[in-house]
Amino acid sequence: MEILKKLRVSRRFALQGAVGGIGVSLWLPVLDAMLDDHGTAFAQGDPLPTSFGIFFWGNGYVVGDWTPSGSGDSWQLPTNLQAFAELKNDMTFVTGLDMMDAQFKGHGWGVMYVLAGGDGNIINRTSDITRGAENPNATQYKPTIDQIIADAIHTDQPYKSLETGVLAFKGINMGTVSNNLAHRGPNDFLPPERDPAKLFNTLFGDGVPTGSGGSSGVPTDVSYQLRRSVLDAVWEDANRLKGTVGVADAQRIDAHMESIRAVELRIPEGSDGGTTPPPTGCNPTAPAANLPDVTAKSQALNRLITAAVACNMTRVYTHLWSGARDENTYPQLNINRDHHTLTHDGNTAEHTKIERYIMEQYADLATVMKETTIGASTVLDQTLIYGISDVAFEPQWHVHTDYRIVLMGHAGGQLPGNRHVRLQGRKVTELMLTMQQVMGLNVTEFGSWDKTNRTISEILA
């Protein structure tokens, strides 16, 4: 898709432009310059890009408070999803799906299942699981679905995928899955950025103050060229080293080399001398450093994620609100008992408060995306967000039964929305396969736990 190449947003351009507020209403449609007169496609006829996201939170939900009345198109939001009242038309709420035989195994296995479709061993009973997941060695053994999709749909956006998060993990260490969502393989993960100011600097800044010190007097374009030539040589070093190491380390070096290329791709093409017109609107102002509270951080991150997607800096994003089995407290809600303990102590009032609060943050992300336009469309129209937790729970203990999954967005019109799809006894992997197909992947089966070739057409138009 040649047109997408032209959409690459340079940091130089991103730093230019009039002051835009972090409030998305102030942004101009990013891609307007390249769109047709109707704003529904690129001038050359290529469709607008779609994107895929994950919003993950730990510890599940009280099933009863997540049960809507009605199904299909005539349904009412359940009590704990009231934050989405204005977004009901953009939601596809999927209930009833299970993990394997629905026997509970634990948080670590839940996260392995709902994000990666299992650990690579083809089974369909939890009692057949052989790998530990709730210990300090735990990891994802297969790539998470976001990375599968990113590998398939990435063209030349500066970020193949963007990883963000809010609460740093607290609780019993479950290896790399505690603090990270996106995995490309065992112990090969992409850590979330939780600091909005750092994320802004990464996306729209340069990372290093320039114009002083060693680069004094070096034109920006030249410094870009220097950086690229350095990375090329680093890549050569890595390639030479790879030839000397064993299989396992060679895989690590391969991943490292891919990372070097990814960094190189993020360095703007400096040689165009400004001949490409700068996309307008990709100029959010920097969020304040050290935002005081979690809610403010969350809102700033939501706006930066949306900006990155709107500016076509990435087509895949994952947002890790909290990890599986997380033990953060919520002082902003006056809750000083930790989230995971609350899910077991029989007091549903407090964890209902937490769930509603988390859903408010998810709804905020979707709202910002709905308000951010791309031509005649919006980011939310073009995206699909997989809203998922590791487990469900009854009032006092966890289950892998009847997952409640909050899909947001329309993926370029493929999901009509305003729909409650209830499919009892079907599997989460079926939905994960369907989402891959929605994102244009040519796949017909997915998963190792509950390996399936069945899809869930009920979510589609």
């Binding site: 019993i172 850590p191 990372g207 030539s229 190491v245 299989v247 990372s259 008992r337």
Partner: protein
């Protein structure tokens, strides 16, 4: 590429690392091979990513003090240690980005100061770097950065980068700073490269001299080898135990070793958990960041000045009656606040407090926000002190512990444990946690809970009974299992390698040596660095989940 799966052939001599190529991972590969005998490795190259502190120490050795703020990738803890994580994780795109930005921040600082960079480079190049100065610098600086000589193709690559950069940007320092920025991003800098080969005398994989220099330096000092140590390794001096002993002598007596060992014990204790722990502010209004910092520092001082004090028995880790407190910690330990900073105190027997588990950081870090947790505390001790990892709770078990104010935590848990499904595992670790029940969620002593007397007695899985933490500390000191587990964790930490049954002879030997050194850990380390446990690795790859 050398090192195809399943083969165990020695690689070509004269590879850049001078080692046998490929076989390190070959034995663990076995792709397509039939189950059964796993081929013995004949050695190979192992990559250990520098941890943040190793990266900073390596930077310091290259440039002296660097003041630029660096946002480095987070360390990854695997199996409880970042050194294990560093042998497993990959440099993802985020990390590569951070290394790139950090390298530019460093060269901005160093090359922004003409006197500084000219001293670093050591020769006066022409503006376009067309003379020999750049190559001289690349070889000398590269040797320090990569901890080995550069190969000719490497020199060619990097000299070209520097010359192109100088021409493009119009000044020598821009080319040289590009070269330096590249060296700091090179995997040859970012990874500790360790090479070993089969030693037919004992069937183990022996590290070569250069690797021994690297291993000794990062283990004993936390940083890269000095020029002398690297030269000693390359000349063969570190091929023998006697040579290692001589070379290590000065490092063994330096304060840097105490710092390194303190950080091992600190990581082992997981006391850092206190820094991310939240408490109910209505119950514990004094628990703020300042108090957390005091708890952390107090525990570090306890480890450094008590457990690792000259001549100290390392088992004081379990049962010492010494502690460190500042004004903030004094009320928690029931001692008189020192006038300033920290002071060492002997805890009264009536305090009920001994050893690492009596440290406020441990008690607060292994608790819930509003109540102590014998389960969390006991589970930590079972994993850290007995190297046992229990199965997680089975499915569909009601884990609800009713919030009954008429019961002690012990009584509530014992009701819960009446379920035989739970009793199997909880019966192993809860009793150890119960020993700490006299200490609340921030580590304060309490005589009663909910107005009821506290019963902190219990029995270790191996049979020793105790009345309280003092008794538990004594039991742990006397436990061969706890002593073995401690040394096993040390072995994992230093080697960046999990262990399995084939490591058992080394662990057994280490334990015996420690005893022969009267449990003085710093003395023991001198024996450790000349032993097979440090100078070589097993030839069989790790099995199962230990891989």
């Amino acid at each position: 590429m050398a090192g195809s799966a399943g083969s165990a052939t020695a690689g070509s001599a004269g590879s850049p690392m001078g080692g046998a190529a490929g076989a390190a991972g070959a034995a663990s590969g076995g792709a397509g091979g039939s189950a059964g005998s796993v081929p013995l490795s004949t050695g190979g190259v192992l990559l250990r990513l520098l941890t943040r502190s190793e990266y900073l120490a390596s930077l310091q050795s290259l440039f002296g003090t660097v003041t630029a703020a660096l946002d480095l990738p987070e360390d990854t803890s695997v199996g409880g240690f970042v050194s294990l994580g560093a042998a497993k994780v990959t440099v993802n795109a985020t990390a590569a980005d951070k290394y790139e930005v950090a390298s530019r921040a460093v060269v901005e600082e160093v090359f922004g100061d003409m006197a500084r960079w000219q001293t670093l480079v050591g020769c006066q190049p022409q503006a376009n770097l067309s003379d020999a100065c750049v190559e001289t610098f690349a070889r000398a600086f590269g040797r320090k950065a990569f901890r080995r000589d550069l190969t000719d193709p490497e020199v060619t690559t990097w000299v070209q980068v520097a010359r192109d950069g100088a021409v493009l940007a119009g000044a020598a320092q821009h080319g040289l700073s590009a070269l330096v920025s590249g060296f700091l991003q090179s995997p040859n800098f970012l990874y500790r490269v360790e090479t070993n080969a089969l030693d037919s005398t004992n069937g183990r994989l022996k590290y070569d001299g250069r690797s021994m220099a690297v291993r000794l330096a990062y283990f004993l000092t936390g940083g890269p080898p000095s020029a002398e140590l690297l030269a000693a390794g390359e000349s063969g001096q570190l091929d023998t135990a006697a040579g290692v002993q001589t070379a290590a002598a000065s490092m063994l007596s330096s304060q840097a070793l105490v710092t390194r060992l303190t950080s091992f014990f600190y990581e082992y204790s997981q006391a850092e958990l206190v820094m991310v722990s939240d408490k109910d502010p209505t119950m514990f209004p004094t628990f703020n960041d300042s108090l957390k910092n005091s708890m952390k520092e107090g525990t570090q001082l306890f480890l450094e000045r008590v457990v690792l004090a000259p001549g100290a028995d390392v088992r004081s880790f379990f049962d010492s009656n010494q502690t460190f407190a500042d004004a903030a910690l004094a009320p928690i330990y029931g001692v008189t606040a020192p006038n300033s900073g920290f002071a060492q105190f002997t805890l009264a027997p009536t305090s009920g407090r001994v050893g690492i588990m009596g440290q406020a950081a441990m008690l607060a870090g292994h608790s819930k926000s509003d109540h102590s947790s014998p389960t969390v505390r006991g589970l930590y001790m079972m994993q850290a002190f007995f190297c046992a990892v229990p199965e997680p709770p089975p499915g569909n078990v009601n884990t609800d512990i009713p919030d009954d104010p008429t019961l002690t935590t012990r009584q509530k848990l014992e009701r819960h444990r009446s379920d035989p499904v739970c009793a199997g595992c909880h019966g192993m670790f809860d009793p150890m946690g119960m020993a700490l029940e006299h200490f609340d969620s921030i580590g304060q002593y309490r005589e009663t809970e909910n107005g009821l007397a506290i019963d902190s007695s219990g029995v270790l899985e191996e049979g020793t009974a105790f009345d309280d933490l003092v008794g538990l500390g004594a039991a742990l000191r006397a436990s061969p299992f706890a002593n073995e587990c401690l040394i096993r964790n040390f072995y994992r930490n230093v080697n960046g390698r999990a262990d399995d049954l084939q490591d058992q002879p080394q662990v057994d030997a280490m334990e015996a040596t420690l005893a022969s050194r009267n449990y003085v850990f710093r003395d023991y380390v001198a024996d450790f660095v000349v032993s097979d446990a440090f100078r070589s690795a097993p030839a069989l790859p790790l099995t199962g989940e230990n891989q």
